[in-house]
Each structure stands twice: as structure tokens, then as C-alpha cells.
Symmetry: D2
Subunit: 467 residues, 4 copies
Amino acid sequence: MDLVIKGGKVITASDTYKADIGVRDGKIVMIADKIEEPAKRVVDATGKYVFPGMIDSHVHFELPFQGAVSGDDFATGTRAAACGGVTTVIDFAIQAKGEDILETVKKRMASADPKTYIDYSLHVAPTDVNKDVLAAIPELIKMGLPSFKLFMTYRKEGLISEDGDLFMVLREARKYNAIVGVHAENAYVLERLIEQFAGEGKTQCIYHALSRPNFVEAECISRGIKWAEEAGSRFYVFHVSTKEGAWEIAAARAKGLPVFGETCPSYLFFTEEKYKGENGPLYVLTPPLRTALDQEVLWRSIQMGTLQVVSTDHCPFQKAEKMRGKDDFRNTPNGLPCVETTLMLLHNDGVLKGRFDLQHLVAVLSYNPSVIFGMYPRKGTIAIGSDADLVVFDPEKEFTMSAAALHMNVDYSPFEGKRIKGMPVVTISRGDVIYENGEFKAEPGRGKFVKRYLPEALTTSPEPAVV
Amino acid sequence: MDLVIKGGKVITASDTYKADIGVRDGKIVMIADKIEEPAKRVVDATGKYVFPGMIDSHVHFELPFQGAVSGDDFATGTRAAACGGVTTVIDFAIQAKGEDILETVKKRMASADPKTYIDYSLHVAPTDVNKDVLAAIPELIKMGLPSFKLFMTYRKEGLISEDGDLFMVLREARKYNAIVGVHAENAYVLERLIEQFAGEGKTQCIYHALSRPNFVEAECISRGIKWAEEAGSRFYVFHVSTKEGAWEIAAARAKGLPVFGETCPSYLFFTEEKYKGENGPLYVLTPPLRTALDQEVLWRSIQMGTLQVVSTDHCPFQKAEKMRGKDDFRNTPNGLPCVETTLMLLHNDGVLKGRFDLQHLVAVLSYNPSVIFGMYPRKGTIAIGSDADLVVFDPEKEFTMSAAALHMNVDYSPFEGKRIKGMPVVTISRGDVIYENGEFKAEPGRGKFVKRYLPEALTTSPEPAVV
Amino acid sequence: MDLVIKGGKVITASDTYKADIGVRDGKIVMIADKIEEPAKRVVDATGKYVFPGMIDSHVHFELPFQGAVSGDDFATGTRAAACGGVTTVIDFAIQAKGEDILETVKKRMASADPKTYIDYSLHVAPTDVNKDVLAAIPELIKMGLPSFKLFMTYRKEGLISEDGDLFMVLREARKYNAIVGVHAENAYVLERLIEQFAGEGKTQCIYHALSRPNFVEAECISRGIKWAEEAGSRFYVFHVSTKEGAWEIAAARAKGLPVFGETCPSYLFFTEEKYKGENGPLYVLTPPLRTALDQEVLWRSIQMGTLQVVSTDHCPFQKAEKMRGKDDFRNTPNGLPCVETTLMLLHNDGVLKGRFDLQHLVAVLSYNPSVIFGMYPRKGTIAIGSDADLVVFDPEKEFTMSAAALHMNVDYSPFEGKRIKGMPVVTISRGDVIYENGEFKAEPGRGKFVKRYLPEALTTSPEPAVV
Amino acid sequence: MDLVIKGGKVITASDTYKADIGVRDGKIVMIADKIEEPAKRVVDATGKYVFPGMIDSHVHFELPFQGAVSGDDFATGTRAAACGGVTTVIDFAIQAKGEDILETVKKRMASADPKTYIDYSLHVAPTDVNKDVLAAIPELIKMGLPSFKLFMTYRKEGLISEDGDLFMVLREARKYNAIVGVHAENAYVLERLIEQFAGEGKTQCIYHALSRPNFVEAECISRGIKWAEEAGSRFYVFHVSTKEGAWEIAAARAKGLPVFGETCPSYLFFTEEKYKGENGPLYVLTPPLRTALDQEVLWRSIQMGTLQVVSTDHCPFQKAEKMRGKDDFRNTPNGLPCVETTLMLLHNDGVLKGRFDLQHLVAVLSYNPSVIFGMYPRKGTIAIGSDADLVVFDPEKEFTMSAAALHMNVDYSPFEGKRIKGMPVVTISRGDVIYENGEFKAEPGRGKFVKRYLPEALTTSPEPAVV
């Protein structure tokens, strides 16, 4: 064996058991109560959990946005991710207006390839849905990119897809079993509300939330689902933030539609109360933070399986950049740093608070994004033949969140001072121990692009037997 | 190793991969790309699937009912089950009126223990919900029996529980995390319809279906769910037969209620057209067979996760007993033989016809009943430390259904002549090869009572990523 | 003219206008801005409203129940009714077990005929739904009795109809365009709850409410609607008391089902808080009083048209009889006196508080019960050719409720001390002024049985244009 | 009396009775079984119905649209309307881009005033929702114009209001109890579909329907309702054409929202099969014709009260203009001639076929539009003090539809050759007999602008007692 992880409690999406794990050539080759075979390298996981590495299916590295650039590039971002137990990320290839979309993808891969420490992929994000874009879809899928993201908002930023654009992409996607995700906020209504508030001098942070009320998101999710239903396509809602949004997804799923959704730690851990404090701008993102009731419904939606994925929407900006919006929220670039902290946060507030169990944690962070976005069975599970992307997680180790103690390239942490229990101590990517007890041990560029593939029927897993 | 299964494709509820499986002391101890270690016994599974043994959570052995006794006793029944890939069954302990319910259970276990070839458990079925029964619930749970069945029908047979009875059982069950299942058909309405038809001389087989129309089941499911919702209890619907019934369950689940349901092969493979033929009585069971549309919705409900379990409701009667109802369906004892054939039927019509994949097959036949009824992680999966209850399944082997070629103690097969592809070739129970290529090799009484336990939160598995 | 009502504001279900009304031979023959023609009798209605007389479609006169007899007989009851603006009542003919139901009706009419001061009819209430009862339905309808009431509760009292009984009545009713109403409370569940509470010594008044929780009514309404839907029959829910019950009706109506409902003043004016006071027993009725939220939903359900009728469920018992239940609510006969006060209460709390307008008041108290129960166009409107059943209502006259100042034969008023504005000052029945400014001027027996008739399609009225 | 209508059967939204009607100074002043008083003019209505004149709340006179001008101007249009039993029309004041909206209204009134034969009003239709338009709303309401129409479609034609525009108008309307109606079709999706079909050479008439599938309307209605719900405003859907659209409205109403809807005769009488024939272009309108199932649901939605109004959407173009689209539906101006024929058509296919009764006919054609758009009690009923806008309708008179026999300024009839029974024989506007037995007897300009007013609570009418 190249590597044996000994004595840990193995957690997959469906099972929990104590076992040793043997790795050869970057793949898992043995799981046994005791592996006697000699190994080049042994990691002792006694008293610890062994998870499949987290798949963060929603990150924004080196993204120029609203007058700033997100703080992590593919190097710092994937390094911090690995420190937090992430072994695969999916970023975005966002088309510039008029740009050949195959070019968009190639440029983005060229940025990522020399820098990433862990494996990665991209969601393709057209912003100009013309005939060429529609014609490129089969080619993109052949390249291993069967997931698309459309913005149903950001009209002024030039990112918006109108309903007709979305519908055409869904119809093409349907032909090739691809999945289409959206940023769902009604641009036309929120712009009017911002305009009205601004006209009344209401530009303090709380108006960021008030100008994008829950119904602005819920209507948009409802609409997107309608188009997907008509097109017969898989549909994915990024960063669901509202209870009403979650309910739209629940209703669609009860009808048997292949509609999926994620939420992100910002919505699970913070409420719009943050916008009333001095540091409000540090918490500005879109969709905005909501109320405690929305938060509770989001947690329950994860528990019930209405939302299948928790991703991070990692998009950090420096404190000074964020605070530009102190007097006018419109001057703050949107986004928060989360890629490194989500696994430990979900363990602490999800598992330890009894909201779901360890298998469910693995489902939402690893297995489900792998299946939904087409990396399964290579990623997302602990099984013979799968990539040895593993995290040894110490459930007893305590940690106090702070920007200083974390590895993301951002000078503040929205969780500063939060005390949690349980954190990753070893991260293994394709059999390589790349992070161990605080030390990072890999070279940039070792991460590889993951060609993804979605079959006609998604590989399914059992229905949850949730109380 | 005591036993190694070599070269098979291992299927669990969440994963599919090629691996050898090593067994020691009746438990799975190793899963690896190649097990080199010597083994007392090797089963070659090259080119075959290795499933966790099927858990048939709904069988009726040696049941006196409607003037006959179901044809299989615990011996013939569990032997046939094993030949069909079943490694655990759950039968029922049905209280006689006035009987101490603990006594009911003990008597039933005394019947089963010396005869069973495979492991078994019992659902407790009170028919006289008085204070003593309610008081016995914690004791029953301590004995490992955390599941109850109530009949919302069979009034004349003295089995019925009225709504108040059901509600009281649900409230007690809630306290101990038990699950309560029901036979859902409105007795009062169906009796009136039978009476009316009989008064008009309409007693041919088709009137069995017409006197129990879809709404008689759907109303009853709706009502049961209401009581369960109020009591806060887990709820399970046995043998869902109608589209409307499935929709009631879907709606409850969309609200986040812990409501579960099963259907059975009779409803998936036959329609009420059978009642119009000469052999109609052979297909009489309750609820009755339905239309092709109901059938399609039931298949889709399995696919969507609305119905989590397929059990057999095995309850065979001899041809002569069934045909007593040739002129009057009321003279036919209800029930069909299915325990041996369900795994292969579901593989043939479920997997091969593209309705769901192999993992989903394992979920509905093994993993889900195990989790829902409290046998997990001992049963229902292939993982280190779990019982080595395994089935080697040859996906290429073809078979023509016939009573003669099957092992159930019944002189006809409702599937007579049906050609299927894929069947179990080896069945292993706690590491013992008890059935191999047509030969059965075990002693009665080797099967053990399985103490079951339901935790406060059911062990959950990932949400299916169904198309 | 025999009678002219001059100068009033005429209110019908659809119109409001100032006009004189001319009456000849008990019928309305002229409506005009000014009637010049000489009249034998003139009633000055200047500054007042002229309503069609209220039709109270739910009263219980001289009813032996739970060890007492309701205080008003057909004489005192209809006299008090007339004083309160009621010109027609519908009481019940409740079958004694085993009794020929045509006999039941005849006996009830024989009691009523010599005593009533105003016109009346009866709902037929079978309690023993055998073949004879089903066979009698066309005869009953021919007699002018196209409405039935079944008790889905009162099992111990021997009144209950099981689901099969209800379903058979609905199917027969369907054939003759009859309407079937129910008292909807699940007997089996409430009995268990009462038994449990009683076993714990919990027999104070508040346990009357707690043993019949909202879901006991809502489940029963839901179930009744299902049977009616299957039977294709018109369905009516008496005394809806819960928000959940109202929602069930709203959902049925949104599907286009001919489902109708009423509520009663007790539920609109009192909450279960009453049961916590010393005089709790005075407020015991079934279904019991509910919470303030239920109350608000009931008001809104009237406003929205979900509930089309307000009736009184008048069933008075003397204070001493009611107070028998001081220590054990089971000793209190159920019912409250309301027949005289409902018109003024609904005007005061409905119209004056802005919940609905005058036309809506006429709709729920006169027009709708007339149409739904088959008295239209003879009753329920002010139109040429209709019976001159009219009420002159003084919107400025104030009144303080008290048993002493009212005419019902009961020694307390649940509304004692309540100050209201607006009350009837003149009541006219078929052109006869029978009540005028506190004086009652008619002979018993002048009231007539109203033969009712329901057409295949109910005479419809416009959809409300409600805000 | 100035006028007495003798011996007719008077029909209002809630009542039917035989009576004479007396008119003085243009108002109804007497309704009686027999009016003896001498009259300047007597109309004999023996054996006939007397309806309140129809209020057609959706007509387009002299509208320049898609390269043509609708054939009827305010003179020919209102004359034809009167011949068909219409006594009031509501046309539109459609803002030109950049135009002061008060100016828009004044110009439109200037066109109408000298020409109309019957009373009229206008819906205000902003196409450029800027601050000035929002600021003008209270002024418009003061002018008697409390209803607005926004186009959620016609993007290329420059008429579209985006969601933010609609939401702002709804919020302003809410403050003044106004009502906002929409043309609901998703412009972005239908444009894409048209573009795609055109690209494939599919421009035959049937592609007009196929490029605007049901969901294009239903989504848009769903969305509009969401904004109205959030704004708290009354909402009206013009020309509902699909079953799904009707269901959206039914669902909103079941929640108690003040959402209203109309359909038009084209959708009730024709299906998309028309587009397959040679004369397809003659039937092109938007939304397009649908299937027979949609048609049936629309009829039932009228019956159930989901749709409260039937208007005509009268917008005639000459045959040659229509046939320009013979090879490409995009060249056909949208619209059909209906103002003259709708009352008789609805009587023939609604009342005579048993879909609803005469009162219901009056409700949807007269009473409901009057109440919903603020003309009540002046218009829409037969009551003392209301305008004497009356139609004498001969239920026995038969008629064969033909362009030649009708009075609209258009050279074809979509109903050519249809045989109907029952038609208006006399039309009376404010007491003037303007049409009698085929002769038209009035001067242009006699029609008056009707100042409308919507109270905080709409005047309500009783809930329909529909089977």
C-alpha cells in the first residue's frame, strides 16, 4: 500500500463503521477491520472520523466584481480549501459579452491549471445566450462540463439572462442530460426598490436586505422551476436564502421534478441583524442575509432533503473593500470568505446540535454534489476504486475562528471569535497527504481538472429515512 | 477469512464498485480490490452483483385467515425466501381478542424459532387497544420490537382499530421512537359497497376491486397521516396500491412529516384486468389490484422516493382454496405468494427497464427497510462490521417463472410463464452459504430473532439525486 | 296595497337602494322611489334598513338532549326568533333508532304546526341508515324536504352515522339534487381523549375544549368532503368552529366542489377562555369554543365566501341545567341561546366593524340559506312576487343584551351586558306585521311549513367582488 | 313615467321575477307586478327577459396596431355594441412612449366624446412607468379612472412593463383602492419560440399558437399575482385563455386574495383547430386560441366563479388585413370582432346548454364588471335609482350569424353561419330606446363618460351557490 489510514470511523453518505483504509496509486483499494499489509505511509485516525473530502461546488476565485477582485486566486483559494477539508472545488467560467464561450472556458482553465492544489472543475456561465452559445453546449459537455449557471439577476452588471435565454439553455441542456443552475433574484423589482430607497437617502446596509425582500428570490425560483419543468431539464438553485424559496423547491420535488438546491453557510449562521451593526458591510452578499425564521427553515430543508447541497459561495473581499459601503451598501462588493470553514461549521452546528447525523453531513458536502454535478463515483464517497480524497476529522479538537488562524487571503473573518468543536486534521488528495496538523505540504498545479459526466439517470441513493 | 466473495460488483444503497468481500465470524471484515488472504471458502462472483440480502418486511407465514391457513410456515417460507435472495423477514404477531399482547409475541416467536432458516423479526399487531396494550408498548420496545401494525379495516374479522385506538397507539409510540404502520382501507364504506353489490348478485371477482375503489384506500391513508401528524409519530403505510394513496404520502413528506410507504409486487405487476379472467380468484388480495395508471404511478413513486420500500406481503393460499371464490369473491382468502420472486422481478422490471438503478434496488429492498424498522447497521448494507447477509446475483441468468421451479409451498404461481433475466445464485446468511445454484443447504432453526432498535433520529442517508 | 313600507333603504344580497315597498296578499308587489297608492297599513322606515327576514337554518326547539330539554319550544322559539328579525327557521326531524323516518317527520311537524309564529321547515336527520331510510329519500324530497343531516359524532348518544352510512345517503341524495349536511367531529378520537382526561381527574370545563381539539373537527370535515366528492353530492358543514375546518372547505371549493359551510355566533363572539371562568358551563356546546385565531379566520371565511351561511344552532338550556357541569363538563347539556340575537350581533360586529357590508349580511343570513336549502325565490330576497318576509332595522338604535330584555325561554344570556348598535324594530311575515317596537302581535300556528325544492343547478348569484 | 317596460321577466345578478319597470329622467323608479301609471312610452316585454345592459369592459376602438387600425371607431363600435345589448363599454387610453399620461387620457376622451352612442369609460394603460406616471395615479383616480392595464408582453411593440414597473404601479394603486389588470404572456419566451420557428420556416398560422404555449400565459399570471399579493393590491387578468391560467387564479382566490379574471368569447367558442384551416388568419389574436380541454375549463371557471367577467376584447380587422398573415402569422394584426355578439352567444351556449342560469349571465356580463371596475350601483343592475340601461331580450328569436346582418365595421364574422336562439330586441340607454327590432335610433355623442369610483371594500354580492 502507498498509504493506510488506520483506526478511524469511516463515514459515507449511507454508512458508518470503524475500519482501516488502504490506498494505492491514488485510489482506495482496501477497507477492512484491520489492514496488516505494509504501507509506505500510515496515518493514524484512531478516535477520528474519516470523511470523503468535501466538494465545494460553488466558489469564486480571482473574480473581478463590482470594482474589486475576490481575494483568493486559484492558489491561495485551493490551499485554504484543502486546509478546511475540501478536496475538490467547482468555480465558474463566466462569459464576457460577445466572447466565444469555448474561449471563456479555456482561459479560465489556463488560469487555474498552474495554481490549483486540489482537483477542480468549472460551471459554464453564459451571459449572452445567442446561437453560438447554444451550439457550443454539446462541445462543452464533451469537454466534461455538463453544468451551467445563468444569472436571473445582475442586469446592470450585464450578466442577466432573460426568461427566453434561460428557457433555450434548459431545452438544449435537456438533450444532453446536463444540469442548469441559477442565481435567482428578480432584477427588475429589486432595482426599483433600490432606486426608491436611494431616492429617500436609505443606503445604509440594512437597505441591502430590505431592497431584496424574500419574495424577490422566491418569485424567481418559482419562475425558473416552471421553465425547467416545461423544458424537462434538471434544475439547480444556487444559494437559496429564504424559506419561501425552499418551499418552492419542496413543492417541485413533491411533484417528482428533478429540482435541486443548495444553501450556504452565510445564510445558516447569520441574519440580517448583522446589517444593523457597524460592521454591516462585511456581511453584504447576494442574496442578502435573512431572518432567524428563514434560517431555521433552511436548516430543516437540509434535514428533510429539500436542499441537497451545502456549498460555500466563497467570494472574499478585503475589509477595506467591503467597508467602502459603510454609507451606501451599493459600494460594497458582494461576497464572504467561507471555503475553509464550512465543513467544521456544519459539523459543529449541524451534527453536534442534533440537526442531522454524520452520514447526512457527508451527503450534503460530498456525495450529493458529486452525484448532482457528475463526479461520481470518482469523488464523493469512500469505496473501492474511488479517488483517495479523504479528510481525517478530529471531533474533539476545538478551535476559535479568526482570520489570522485561517489560510484564506482575506483580512477578516465573519466568524471571528466563534468557538467550535471538531476540525479537519489531515487532508488527502488522490492519496497525497497535502495538509496535516496545520502544515500544508503540496505544490501548486498538482490539482487536476475533473472531467465530469452526467448519465441519463442520475446515480441514485436511497431515500432518507428522516424523522 | 472464513469466506471470500471474489470478483463481484458490490452494490450498496449509495455505491457501486468492483471488489472482493472478506467474511469472518459471520461479519464483513474486508472489502478490497483484491483479497489475497487465504479463505476457508471462496465464492466466485465474477461477472455478478453482490447485494446485501433482501429484507422482506412484510410476510405472513402460517396465518389462519378467512377459513384457510397461509401455505408457507416459517420453515418453508424462509427457505423459499432464501432461495429468492431474502436474508431477513419480518412477520407479524397479531393479537387475539383479549389476549395479553406479550403472550401473543412469545407464542409467535415460539412458532418461528425452531423453523426459520434465516433471521427474522415481528411487527406487533394489536387488535384490542386497551390500557394493557398501551402499557405494554415500552416492554415490547425493550424486547426489540419497535414497530406496530394496526388494521384500519377488517371490521368483521375483528381486526379493526378505530381512529381513537390508532391515535392512542401513535401517541405512545411517539414516546419511544417507534413506528406505526397501517392497513389502510375504510371498512365502513367498503362493507356497504360489498353489501350493495352482493344484493345485486354482483359477486364475481371484478367486484372485489369495484367494492374497494381507490378512494377507500386514499381516504384512509389521508386520515392515518392526520393522526400521526398530530401525535408526532413516525407512520408507515403497508401495501400502497393506488395513485391517490401515493400522492397522500408524497404530500405529507413534502411537509417534512416522517411518513413512509411501501408497495408490493402484486400492484406493480398486475392490474384489475386479472379479475375479469377465469383465474381471477388467484389474484384476489387486499387492497385489490388496480389500473395500469395506478401501476405506473407506483413505479414512479418508488423512483421518486415517495415509497421507500418494496415488500412482498407474501400470503399464499393453494389454488383450490383461492378458487372457492370463483362465483363469489368473498369466499377467496386474500393473498398472493411473492417472497421468493420479488428481488428478481424488481431487477427485471425495475432496473432492466430503466426505472431505477441497482443502488436504488438495494435501497428499497434492503437498506431502507433496515433503517426504517431498526435493523441498521447490522443488516441492509455491505460495510465493515455488518452481518454478512449477502446475495450473489447473476444478471445474465434467465428464468421462466413457474410454481414447479420455485420453492414456496403453493401450487400455482401468479407469474407462471413470465420470462425474466437476472436471478440470485448464492445466498449467504451471517457468512453461511445457505443457498447455492439451486441447492439449499441449511438447517431449520438456524435463523435468529433480530432485536431491533430505533434511535431518536433515524440514521439518514443522502437524498436521492433522481432525474 | 295591504301594506307599504316607506322610505327605507332596501338591502338585498346584491343591491342597496332607497325605495318604498308595496305588499299585497302577503307578497311583495311593488318597489318604487315613491309609492303613492293608498295602503291599509303603512310602516315608516325612514332612516332605516329594510332587510329580507333572516332565515335561521339551524335551530333546536324542544329537543330532549343529554338529560334536559332545550328551553324553547316551537312557540317561544319562533316568537323570540321573530323579535330578532328571523322570519323562517329550519329545525330537525331526528330519527329515533328503529323509527320509520317518515313517521319521524310527521311527528315533528305535528309538534310544530300548532305552535309556530313564523314559517318553518325541517332537516331530516337519520340515525339508523338502513334500506328503509335510503328508500324513503325520494318520498321525503317530494314532501319538500331536500336536506339531510348526519351526525359523524355522538356515538354514545346513538346518533352517529359511520362512513358507510354517510356515503350511502350522499349517493342517494345525489340522484335527487338533495344536500347532505354533517356535524363533523371524530367520535372515536374525542371519546378516547375524554376518557383519558377523565381518568386523570381532568373534568373541568376547559377539558371540554381540550378533548375536542381542532384536528378532531378538521379531520372529520376533510373526510366528509371526500365522500361527497366521490358521491358527486352537495355537501354542507354545520357549525364550523376551527380555522382548519374552514380551510378544508376553502380547498374543496377551489376545486369546484359544491361544498358549503356555516358558522354560528358562539364561535364568532366567544373563545375557549370562557371555559376558564366560573361560568364556563354556560358556554359549553359542541364543537367547543376555540381560540381568538380561529375566530378571526372564521370572520374572514365569511368575508371571503368560504362560509356562506351564519345560522344560530340555537339550543338553550336553563342556567341550573348548564351548571350541573360545574365540576364535570360531561354533565352539561350542550347548546347556547342565539336565535334572537344573531342578526343584531352580526350587524354590530360584522358590518359596523367593517368586516363586510350590508349586502353581504343579507347574503349570509337570508339569501344564501334560502338558495342552498331550496326556499328561493319565495324567501331570502326582496323582489316582486317573493313573500313579504321583511325586517325594518334601525341602525341607530342601541341595546344592551340581557336575558330579561330578550324573549327566549332561558334564564341567562351568554351576551349579558354586551352593548350593540342597530336592531330590528319591525318584523313582517308574509305581509303581517308580527312584531313592532317591542310588541309581539301574532297567534301561534300562523307559521306554515315551507315546502322546499332544490333544482338540478342551484340558482346562482354572482361571485362576490371581495377585496 | 317617461317609459314603462311591461310584462317582462326581470333578471338581476341575484333575482328573477316577472315585473313591470318604470323609468323617469333616465333612472329606474318603479318595479312592480303591474304599473298602472300612464307612461310616455311603453315597451312591451311580454314573454321576454329584461336584463341590465351588458357592460363590455374590454374593447379596442380605432386602435392603430401592427400596421392596421381596428375597424370600429367609437361611433360604429358603440352603435354595434348597442345593437348587441351593450350599454356601456370600457376602452383603453394607451400611453405613447414619453407622453404625459394625463394627456393620453384627454386625447382619448376627445376622440370618444363626440362619437359614442352609449356610455363609456377608459382603462389607463401606461407603457412607460416613470415617476411622472406614478405621480399621476391619484389625479387619474380623481378623474374617475381607478383601473389600470399593463402589458406584461408586446416588448417589440414597446408596450411591455417589466416586473419592477408592474410592482410600482400595484403599490401606488393599493393606496387608492384602484385595480390593476394585465395582459399576461411572457414576452421573452414567446419571442424566442417565434424566432426559432421562423428560423425553421414555420410561420403558418398554427405556429402562432405553438409559439405561445399555455405555460407562457400561466407563468405570467402566476407572476403577476405574486406582485399583487406583495403589494396588497386588487388584480385583474384580462383574456384568460388557458386552463392553467384559470387554475392560478382559482388558487389565489382560495387564499383570499382579491384576484379577478375574465375570459372572452373567442376562447369559449373556438379552438386552435381554426389555425389549421385556410381561414386561420381570421382567428389570430393574442393570447391565441387553445384546445377543447382549455375551453371546457374556461366554461367551468365561469360557472365556479373563478372568472367573474366575460368581456369581448373586441378588436376587428378587415379580412384583407387579417389574410396578410396567410403565409406568416406575424403579418396578421391580432384581434377579433365580438362586441355585438357576446350577449347572445353567452345566452345560447351558456344558459341554453345548462352551463349557468340567467342570473349568472347577468352577473358576468353586467353586475360583476360594474362592481369590479367601480360603476356600481349606477350601472349593472335593475334597482330603484340605477340608470335605466336595459335590454329586452327575446329568448325565442332565432338568428344566423353573418357579417352582413351585424353592425360592426368589419367584412367578416368569425361566427358566420352559427345559428343561435335568443337575442336582444330593444336596447335602452339611460331611459332612451336607442335600438329596437333592428332599427338604431340615436345620435352620436349622446354617450357619456362614466366617472368610476372604487371604495375601500368593494360592494359585495353573495357567494354563488353553484352546484
